[in-house]
């Protein structure tokens, strides 16, 4: 049984075929990266996996279970977390509250007990905070713990979003362009964290990324996409050297 597998995945928006017959497999414990020029359909694949859009065709298999057809919130409950290309944080909440929402799938309390804030709720809350505090330590977010997200710089928000995804304690983490908008230093931190997430937390990472330095540094395998179709798959070096990839990025040599 494969850990995560996508078969014949496709979606069209009106006349645009955004993703066309895409298939790949992610092994447990690896970092798998999808690259491709703008508009290749990378984010759309993530949205299909997150069940934000229903796939026009194909299947998504996670630990032997078919995701297609489930309601979207089930994806998170099964242990798949994601970040967004353009950051989708809860703006008018603090960093801590954002991370606590990541703990949503681990809640054990009922509405009635929450209204009364019984001691079991209190204990559960303390446990959630302990879990979140580990993420805060891991990503060095202690300084901004109680700041409103709306006031934070872009680079920090990017890390907060990663933190929120980690707070869910996922088995599979989807990162949509984790380094976009970051300066070289922050990108370096990000690479370091992705390596740590894989090695120390044992989380499988499926990532979309443009920065080839970062891609070569952290990825075990790379998939190249163009116009919604797979054009190459292999190690970072192999894919970068592949003629179809060179052509997709640079245009056909005249």
């Amino acid at each position: 049984m494969s850990f995560f597998k996508v078969e014949h995945l496709g979606i069209r928006f009106g006349g645009v075929v955004a993703v066309d017959n895409v298939g790949f497999e992610v092994k447990r414990g690896e970092v798998f990266t999808i690259i491709g020029p703008n508009g290749a359909g990378k984010t759309t694949i993530f949205n299909l996996i997150g069940l934000i859009y229903p796939a026009t065709r194909g299947r998504i298999l996670y630990q032997g279970r078919e995701l297609t057809g489930l309601p979207p919130h089930r994806v998170a409950e099964l242990g798949i977390a994601r970040t967004f290309q353009n950051i989708e944080l809860f703006e008018h909440a603090t960093v801590l509250q954002n991370l606590l929402i990541g703990r949503h799938r681990h809640r054990r309390t009922s509405l009635w007990r929450e209204m009364l804030f019984t001691s079991s709720v209190r204990q559960a809350e303390i446990a959630q905070r302990e879990a979140v505090e580990k993420v805060i330590d891991f990503l060095e977010l202690a300084k901004v713990r109680d700041s409103l997200v709306a006031g934070l710089p872009y680079g920090v928000r990017k890390v907060v979003e990663l933190g929120r995804a980690l707070a869910t304690e996922p088995r599979l983490l989807l990162l949509d362009e984790p380094s976009s908008g970051l300066n070289p230093e922050e990108t370096d931190d990000m690479a370091f964290w992705i390596e740590d997430i894989k090695r120390h937390l044992g989380i499988t990472v499926l990532m979309v990324e443009h920065d080839m330095n970062l891609v070569s540094r952290v990825s075990d395998r790379v998939l190249a996409l163009n116009m919604g179709s797979v054009i190459a798959e292999g190690t970072a070096a192999e894919v970068q050297a592949h003629p179809a990839v060179v052509e997709a990025y640079l245009g056909k040599a005249a």
Binding site: T43, N47, G50, I52, P71, P72, H73, R74, V75, A76, E77, A81, R82, F84, Q85, N86, I87, E88, L89, F90, E91, H92, A93, L96, Q97, L100, I101, G102, R103, H104, R105, R107, T109, L111, E114, M115, L116, F117, V121, R122, E125, I126, Q128, R129, E130, E133, A150, G151, R164, T168
Partner: protein, 357 residues
């Protein structure tokens, strides 16, 4: 400026963050408990209304301020709470049970009204709740055999286990106790997973759903909870007026209720109380103004106009409402002389749909 040094996880969960807060809430509690001694008959009556509107304000704040679902139909829940109480009292049901039924019944109705919320967003949902308000108002006016139609219904004073709450002070304490209970229920929800799910839905539905929040479930919970509080408020409202009729629950009433929330400060429970107080005091201010101005300059129905103007001004100039204004004033004193303009500016979050890609 106060820095709170955190040493354990309980600190974030506590009701009172620091000693200062405990002190001021203590002062407020004493003032409120002693109100029958310091307040005259007129002020007492105003306090009744402020407490009742605060309960409704909490309900609407949970839905609009924290879950982001704007309702223009809460007068209907108020009506259903009020009529449930009136009918059950007439049938001889004890108050403790009848007010519970008012809450339960409106909660169920809230669930039903919440259903379109799963499909409709923003202004469309608001229009649906508005339609609901009109429908309920019509039903109450037409269903003569049950509601007495436009002749309305009379209520007797509240009686709890044989104890008649006839004086203003007794009814005041009843309102106070219920306000505190409702407030605590809101605060408790907001520091638990459910409250965080509400806020998540308000700020970004897509990412709430990606964090495992079942949007449909939590939106309906928000509607039901909000309606239940409004139903409790409605039951008290009915007793306060001792007479209810359909024209008390029109669209204008709904607008008044949403004004409480927007004026008080979207996203703050304190805002609900401030907004309620303002809404109750405003008509008095208007009538005082009327006395000062020459005869005929202020036409009848001025109240609706003033409400509208205030709403527009608040939305344009002080989106955080009265409570936001208070926070700024406090920050100004705490930070003096370092306060700068724009410290509270929120980032605009238009292009929500664009952000997904």
């Amino acid at each position: 400026m106060r820095f709170i040094f955190k040493t354990d996880y309980e600190q974030d969960i506590r009701l009172f963050r620091h000693g200062g807060q405990r002190f001021w809430y203590g002062v407020l509690a004493v003032l409120l408990l002693l109100a029958p001694w310091w307040a005259g008959e007129y002020v007492m009556s105003q306090l009744h209304f402020i407490l009742i509107y605060s309960i409704v304000g909490f309900g609407l704040m949970m839905l609009t301020g924290f879950t982001g679902q704007v309702s223009l139909g809460h007068a209907a829940f108020l009506a259903v709470g009020a009529y449930t109480e009136a009918l059950l009292q007439a049938a001889g049901v004890p108050f403790v049970i009848s007010i519970g039924c008012a809450a339960l019944f409106t909660a169920v109705l809230g669930l039903i009204v919440g259903l379109p919320a799963l499909r409709l967003k923003g202004i469309y949902l608001t229009i649906a709740t508005l339609a609901f308000n009109v429908i309920v108002e019509e039903i109450i006016a037409r269903w003569h055999s049950l509601t007495g139609g436009n002749e309305g219904k009379h209520l007797k004073p509240v009686q709890i286990l044989g104890w008649k709450l006839e004086s203003d002070a007794e009814f005041y304490y009843l309102c106070l106790v219920l306000t505190v209970i409702c407030c605590l229920a809101c605060v408790n929800l907001l520091r638990s997973p459910t409250g965080r799910a509400f806020v998540a839905i308000r700020d970004s539905e897509v990412s709430a759903s990606c964090m495992g929040v079942h949007l449909a479930k939590y939106k309906t919970i928000a509607f039901a909870f909000s309606a239940a509080l409004t139903g409790i408020g409605g039951a008290l409202y009915a007793h306060k007026l001792a007479f209810i009729s359909p024209e008390q629950f029109t669209l204008f009433q709904s607008i008044e209720l949403i004004t409480i929330v927007i004026l008080g400060g979207i996203g703050f429970l304190h805002g609900a109380v401030l907004g309620a107080a303002f809404i109750i005091v405003l008509p008095q201010l208007i009538s005082i103004a009327k006395g000062w101005l020459p005869e005929g300059l202020v036409p009848a129905g001025m109240q609706a106009v003033v409400f509208g103007v205030i709403l527009v001004l608040v939305i344009i100039f002080e989106p955080l409402g009265l409570y936001g204004r208070w926070l700024k004033i406090r920050a100004w004193f705490e930070l003096f002389p370092f306060y700068r303009k724009g410290m509270f500016r929120r980032q605009k979050s238009y292009m929500k749909s664009e952000r997904l890609r």
